[in-house]
Symmetry: C2
Subunit: 482 residues, 2 copies
């Protein structure tokens, strides 16, 4: 697996949170074996008292969730104990954010700054720390969301007592950690500044987690990790794979590590400005726009082929360009004045460009056969984008003819749909990406609870095929019709 980060973020800034870090509960870190001993229920041990209570609380909370949200509960049917111990009425997803050692959160920002010649000592006031702008800022927005003081409007309740939690969030800034060291170090070696090691950070995170009783309690199934950069957490992903992974795509994740069932696909942060104008084609003179790296690895090799095909075509703007403030300005201008915006695969199937196109109301033309898309249960991407398989896309004349055939009326329909779903891709919108990520995570809860309960009561058995907790919706990946 490649250790090189997929991209380097430029040094623009997002607003930092001024909230204080979470309270640190005193956890009993004593090891609690949770093997599938079929006899466990007959042999209660003191050491499993706490987890049992927590499981009960979680169950009761889930019960409360379902009766609150999916039925009109009859109080006489509530188990009496649930009435006593259920937490106050709250959002169904009750998340406990670990109070990680500072080096995993604010410390990563400091290391990033330090590696670029910034302050060498930890900031006294974390509110003055600036998380660097980049394509993978979900870790920052989720952390900031959980630390903000007034959370009544959120779909997730943050609990300070882990016993009340049904999920545990591990807020390591894994994507930023990957790019702490600049591609071209600026004379730091001589200063005696220790070289930052993302790999060591990943290992240290695991060591820290392994001390946590709640991590061991359910084999990690109820833990949530953000690893938005496709290479984030790469060294330890096998050890966190039971958890809910918040990822950009599955390009770097093995078959048994991640799936649409267990994990959540995140959007990249768009890197160009949102188009503020109205729908319309009059001011969009170019047919098709693309600006980005011409040469990429793996799935991205199609880019060079597309350049060869499209360069010189009338009405098409296709430019090689790396991320920079100036190229972002040019890309903004281009995307705001084109009808269609090309989204070819990069090193992995996803890229920020799709989200740039969406907020530009520039109809995305997706040439990325293995792409997975964020929030696809609520967004029908066929209404906002055109999908072209790679082999068709590289046929001479195919793309241009296809796009020229789309009527202005149809483009307006696409744009109107783009406007409707745009908020899902705005990390800053209070009703935008962050809330939607939490909603997606909350949808995983029932299956997580099922897996946790089931795994603990499973006895040893011989299996010839995959376990029945598997689902392959369509093994071939090719659509079948009835």
């Amino acid at each position: 697996m490649s250790q090189r980060p997929k991209s380097r973020p430029p040094n623009s800034h997002s607003p930092p949170s001024s909230s204080s870090p979470p309270a640190s509960p005193s956890l009993d870190a004593k090891s609690q074996a949770l093997t599938a001993l079929s006899l466990a229920p007959t042999m209660p041990r003191k050491s499993i008292l706490k987890p049992t209570l927590a499981t009960l609380l979680s169950l009761l909370a889930l019960y409360a969730f379902f009766t609150t949200f999916l039925s009109t509960p009859d109080p006489t049917h509530l188990p009496s104990s649930s009435l006593q111990s259920s937490p106050e009425k709250s959002a169904p997803l009750r998340i406990y954010m670990y109070d990680l050692p500072r080096k995993f959160t604010y410390g990563v920002i400091e290391s990033y700054a330090k590696a670029r010649g910034g302050s060498k000592s930890p900031a006294d006031d974390v509110s003055r720390l600036k998380y660097p702008g980049n394509q993978h800022p979900a870790e920052w927005y989720l952390f900031s969301d959980l630390t903000r003081p007034d959370r009544d409007d959120s779909v997730v309740t943050r609990v300070l007592d882990p016993e009340q939690a049904n999920l545990f969030y591990v807020p390591f800034f894994s994507s930023l950690s990957l790019v702490v060291n600049p591609i071209r170090p600026v004379g730091l070696a001589g200063d005696g500044v220790p070289v930052y090691s993302d790999e060591e950070m990943q290992e240290e995170l695991i060591h820290w987690l392994e001390e946590q009783v709640y991590w061991r309690r359910n084999n990690g199934w109820d833990h949530v990790f953000v690893c938005q950069d496709p290479n984030a957490l790469y060294k330890v992903v096998d050890r966190v794979k039971n958890g809910v992974l918040l990822v950009s795509d599955f390009g770097r994740l093995g078959q048994d590590r991640a799936s649409l069932v267990k994990d959540v696909i995140l959007p990249y942060s768009h890197r160009i400005n949102t188009f503020k104008g109205e729908v319309g084609v009059g001011d969009r003179k170019s047919l098709l726009f693309f600006m980005g790296n011409r040469y990429r690895k793996e799935g991205g090799k199609i880019r060079d082929l597309l350049f060869q095909l499209l360069e010189g075509e009338e009405d098409v703007v296709i430019k090689h360009g790396a991320q920079s403030r100036e190229s972002r300005r040019m890309a903004s201008q281009g995307m705001h004045t084109s009808k269609f915006c090309l989204h070819p695969a990069g090193d992995t199937p996803s890229a920020c460009r799709l989200f740039d196109a969406i907020v530009s109301l520039c109809v995305p033309v997706i040439v990325s056969d293995y792409i997975e898309l964020p929030f696809e249960d609520v967004i029908d991407y066929r209404k906002i984008a055109i999908f072209v398989d790679s082999s068709s896309a590289v046929k001479p004349g195919f793309l241009i003819k296809l796009l020229q055939g789309v009527s202005a009326e149809r483009i307006l329909e696409f744009q109107q749909e783009l406007k409707k779903v745009k908020r899902y891709f705005e990390y800053e919108d209070p009703h935008g990406t962050v809330n939607e990520i939490w909603r997606q995570v909350s949808l995983k809860l029932p299956l997580i609870k099922l897996m946790i309960n089931r795994e603990k009561r499973l006895v040893k058995r011989e299996l010839t095929g995959p376990d029945r907790s598997c689902l392959c919706s369509n093994q071939s990946g090719i659509q079948t019709t009835l």
Copy 2:
């Protein structure tokens, strides 16, 4: 696959529904190709107008569900069209029950009666039809639930307009159909009464479905089938496997047909009386009780081994007995006066005996390595049952020693937990099994919507492994620890 039904229901009766059948909408049955043409969005066709509208409505409805239940929506963020076209405030799961030809529902009851010498003409008044009591009555209870007039207390809204539905229920009485022909036909051949063919019924159901526009629209993903008897629908299961299958276990379903992610495990109907007394061990003189068929196929072969081990043991009652009114009376008496009730695998891993034990407050001892359990996201079965792997269970002395070692106090704890969850296994309880089945089905909605949206925009691609919509929580089936 065996074509013999797993069990034969005796002829006791459940209360019939007096509701009228659902209104029959006039559906446009014209074929609507939904192949994965990547260019589809650029070529709108008249014929996809309806499905598109329905998809939009479903999306809006889902949107309404999530904003209603998981956040405090800001009206300014609602797409304006959703405000106009969303159905009135209702439960999140909006199900359309097909108005199947009568032969698939009431007709199956009539055929069952006819095959046993009952009336030979269809009943004028369906309210006089009695669904025969058996272990697999979910089809009857779900149908009756959807046809009852006042459904305000339900977790599922029944809609009469399929355009408003997010799921489609196919109410074929597939389990009863399997046992319409008695094991020993009672002189019917001479009467010229046509022999009932369950296989033909299954085929006819598929032919009927294939005419339905909503069946074809989403490749069946949004359809719900009840096939509670492990052999129900066996002949056509490959053609309905995209749907949500309501099943007893996966014993007869191939690896690629069913999973915990897509499908719902149903409880059998308990066949003995619910224990009305209080928790306690004083009146439970027997240590362990089992009554049932000593000889079964496949996983059930362990039964004979257990008989050999346990027969003659002090405090153990173990009897061979087939289903009959008298044996049920004896089993009731035995389960109400024993501390533990054995649940060995039958021909498939599940059996009604587990649910008999639960409503008897007789702690189940589950010896069925591949069992899947109903509603396991909200029920931690380790709190109500003891799991013993088969190889341990057949070791001489093992089971008895294990159970003798369980303290009276621990048994009381089990019984208290059994009391709490008992309602989940009562089909007659308005807050019982039926509501819980619908709740389980509603939990599948987001993934169904995701699969539908995703499948339609997938382009042709080459896959070397399973598709990424797969999840195998634990391929080995053996618990791992971190």
